[in-house]
Symmetry: C2
Subunit: 168 residues, 2 copies
């Protein structure tokens, strides 16, 4: 297993990532087809528009395939808030700490651009307990809950984390 | 003043609407330039993509210019929830009840497509008190609040309204 020091991150996607992102999300077994389609649209948006896309990425390359990715970006109607749209690691990638390391890196980048808060949303369903624990462990707090959001019986929890830029 | 019966609504925007939408929002005096830019992007998306756009509109034509508009649409990661992105009436349009009538129409359309909830978000700032009152009067309830969302000191309130499609 490699250490955090030599992990191979990049920011720009290529067409091949579409298949890998789709596979990583399918293998998690908790995402609906329409959710995965939205993730692929965001990757495609970045491929098409490059740095002028509002969607920012981290891709973690493994030996033969993608081991993880994260998608985040500024929330356009806010002065300095960021959304973490996706963060996912390949099942059986055999590496620990990739998710945490990607979270650290993207928070550092958002903070460097003046970000005050980063938001993450996830489901209230049992299958999403690991996601909720990951956000709490990463320093996010639970801001509010919207029952029946994703579907009847499937609510949304909004988490957020302070990025360290204290306003005047 | 016309009555509700002969109000002239249409669903598809044309290029001329960009100027009028921008003017309506500027004249309200509470929207930031980047917020107005987002509204115009949504109109442009509908012009470019037509019915395949995820953004749905109602335009209320006045005698010489646009008297009001609303923008709403299904929330892609949800099964049956809708977002009301914008609803605004021209200052001095001299017509009462346009906002309420547009709200009725768009809720009816979302309900007709199987929508369960429609969401609206607005600011906690004093200038947005009329918007908050309008949502409450239109049958929305306050779901949750995110402090410092739009900017430090400028929080977001999430409202939602049941559309009448009760799940099994």
């Amino acid at each position: 297993m490699r250490t955090g020091e030599d992990m191979n991150f990049r920011e720009e996607p290529n067409t091949g990532d579409l298949l890998h992102v789709s596979r990583i999300l399918e293998e998690r077994g908790i995402f609906r087809a329409n959710e995965i389609a939205v993730a692929l649209e965001l990757v495609q948006d970045r491929i098409d528009k490059g740095k002028s896309s509002e969607y920012m990425f981290l891709f973690m390359d493994g030996e033969n395939e993608l081991d993880g990715f994260a998608c985040y970006g500024p929330i356009s109607v806010t002065q300095s808030c960021y959304d973490l749209y996706w963060i996912a690691v390949r099942k059986g990638s055999g590496r620990s700490g990739i998710g945490g390391r990607m979270m650290e890196m993207l928070c550092k980048r958002a903070r460097g651009e003046g970000g005050t808060w980063i938001f993450a949303e996830t489901s209230t369903l049992e299958g999403y307990a690991p996601a909720r624990e990951f956000y709490l462990k990463s320093g996010f707090g639970q801001t509010c809950t919207v029952p029946d959001f994703y579907a009847p019986g499937d609510g949304k929890i909004i988490f957020r984390k302070a990025l360290g830029n204290v306003p005047d």
